[in-house]
């Protein structure tokens, strides 16, 4: 084992955790669930289980290691500017979105488009959702963790541990995912809540961080450009069209339980964000006093710091928590993509009268297909995180406008409006990315393409991250044009009727 100090007891803890996950999947499988039970846990999920599955699904290793890496390098700005600026959007999702979505009794995000704009818009939404949901980033991160912890080849680690997540998802659907998410949520939270104070005690607290830190390390907003800050905040818009979030809201026992779960999750995310940020900053102090190597890779800062601070046994529990963080995201999005393949592509395009049993069967096939696709992408591309940012931008650009028009615009909505809004969103994102890549240069510090140009004596910088500022208005123009030019589609069941 190359880096973390793992012992036999730690391995036993990890083994018990993995067996428990498989056991839950098998238990649900034995009950032979119907399609609604398989995909939406029978719409029986109460606030506590919703909190666990929401909080653990939306927070993956990208938060655990991405935020701690940023905190290690840049300081407290990781918490204030990068994590918490999206809170307003989360509150909007809790108050405005979750109640309306749950009352309308949808089954999937693309179904909202299908019901309001017809089959073509539904298929476009399904493709966007599949591209967003295939678990490539999660499997990539899982491979990296198993490499750091066990010295295993990343592809093998992702295959073995990602395979466990695939197995219980395949067997038990959302119910198994949510129950395992609950166990994983507790592991994630408790281990982090124990590890960070212990790390703080080991390194001498934030006084030691202040002594080791460069100037500006404690500046809440750092020195990042204001437009980039807005762009990062806009990235939080993705929760407004996140298929995993939608699935959980649809699975809630009531609209009130969905809203309460979202509000409690926000509270948990704030505490979690801070502890992850603190972990990255405390790692800097551990490096400064020689407890950790000076050449420590910033991406490994949190894991390395916690591993030296925790005793044997607790290290294993923490690693189980890290694996839980990854697996709770992989399982959820694998299921979402699988359901998109079955319910949103196969059903409308191939077999509109598919029965319950067939839908469960094709969803299981879809789950395997999405997992394999995610695995292939994870180990085929080198810039996987940049790819994930692109996919997130793509989904938001394609479906945010037509989905919100479906939910809140009571006026005319033509099928062409849905199709044009999705298509123009898609084309404008690709055009913006390619344009900036062609005109700009790659910035090694920020890891992105930036096009700097002068106009009327003033210098402007356009980042690839600004794509949403361009694509969302374009998608809205597409929607308006489609509404003006398109013919009316078949009558749509109004939202109120579904409530």
């Amino acid at each position: 084992m190359p880096e973390a100090g793992i012992a036999g007891l730690d391995l036993i803890v990890l083994g018990v955790y993995l067996l428990a996950m498989l056991g839950v999947g098998y238990y649900v499988y034995r009950r032979a669930p119907s399609f609604e039970e398989y995909l939406l846990a029978g719409r029986m999920m109460t606030t506590p289980i919703l909190v666990c599955t929401l909080a653990s699904t939306y927070y993956g290793l990208d938060i655990l290691f991405g935020t701690s890496e940023l905190a290690y390098n840049e300081g407290i700005v990781a918490f204030f500017a990068y994590s918490e600026l999206s809170l307003g959007i989360y509150l909007l999702a809790a108050f405005a979105l979750s109640t309306r979505l749950r009352r309308a009794k949808f089954t999937s995000l693309p179904e909202i488009l299908e019901r309001n704009y017809g089959r073509s818009a539904g298929v476009l939404g399904a493709l966007a959702s599949i591209i967003y949901s295939v678990p490539s980033a999660g499997l990539f991160a899982l491979g990296r963790i198993t490499h750091v912890v066990f010295g295993m080849e990343p592809w093998l680690g992702a295959l073995l541990l990602g395979g466990v997540a695939l197995a219980y998802t395949l067997l038990g659907g959302l119910l198994a995912v949510a129950v395992t998410d609950t166990i994983q949520f507790v592991l994630m939270c408790i281990t982090l809540a124990i590890a960070i104070p212990m790390l703080m005690g080991e390194v001498g607290g934030f006084d030691a961080v202040a002594a080791a830190a460069p100037v500006g390390y404690f500046a809440p907003l750092g020195d990042i450009p204001i437009w980039l800050m807005i762009a990062y905040t806009s990235a939080g818009l993705s929760i407004l069209v996140d298929p995993g979030f939608y699935q959980r809201v649809f699975a809630a026992k009531s609209a009130r339980q969905a809203r309460n779960a979202m509000l409690i999750s926000i509270f948990i995310w704030i505490a979690y964000d801070w502890l992850v940020t603190a972990g990255g900053m405390l790692a800097l102090a551990a490096v400064a006093d020689g407890r950790l190597p000076a050449d420590l890779h910033s991406n490994d800062a949190l894991l390395a710091a916690v591993s030296f601070a925790l005793p044997v046994g607790l290290t294993g529990v923490f690693l189980a928590g890290v694996l839980a963080t990854a697996m709770s995201t992989i399982d959820s999005y694998t299921l979402v993509a699988g359901a998109n393949i079955s319910y949103d592509l196969y059903r409308p395009l191939v077999k509109p009268d598919a029965d319950d049993e067939e839908l469960v069967r094709t969803t299981r096939i879809g789950v395997v297909v999405s997992w394999v696709l995610g695995y292939a992408i994870a180990f085929m591309f080198t810039k996987i995180l940049a790819l994930v940012v692109f996919m997130t931008t793509l989904l938001t650009s394609m479906v945010l406008v037509p989905i919100f028009a479906s939910l809140y615009w009571k006026g005319r909505k033509t099928p062409l409006a849905g199709v044009l809004s999705c298509s123009v969103g898609l084309v404008s994102v690709i055009a913006f990315y390619l344009g900036i890549q062609w005109l700009g240069t790659f910035d090694e510090v920020y890891g992105t393409y930036i096009w700097t140009f002068a106009f009327d004596g003033t210098t402007f910088s356009l980042w690839q991250e600004y794509a949403l500022f361009f694509s969302l208005p374009m998608s809205l123009i597409g929607f308006i044009l489609g509404n003006l030019l398109g013919a009316d589609g078949p009558p749509v069941e109004p939202m109120e009727a579904a409530e």
């Binding site: 238990y27 649900v28 009950r31 039970e37 846990a41 029978g42 029986m44 999920m45 109460t46 606030t47 506590p48 289980i49 909190v51 666990c52 119910l175 129950v179 609950t182 949520f185 507790v186 939270c189 408790i190 982090l192 809540a193 124990i194 960070i196 104070p197 703080m200 607290g205 934030f206 006084d207 961080v209 202040a210 026992k253 009531s254 609209a255 009130r256 339980q257 409690i264 509270f267 948990i268 704030i270 505490a271 979690y272 801070w274 502890l275 603190a278």
Partner: protein, 44 residues
Amino acid sequence: MNGWDVFTWISSAALAGSAIVIFGYFLRDAGKILNQEDDDRDED
């Protein structure tokens, strides 16, 4: 003690406490959820 140390302790207590309380409530509901019993559907 540094103010950020205090904030870290508060965050840790909040996170661990929330996780334990939520897990307790989950256990209360677990039987009904796993067996898909719908005796008190809470529509609003």
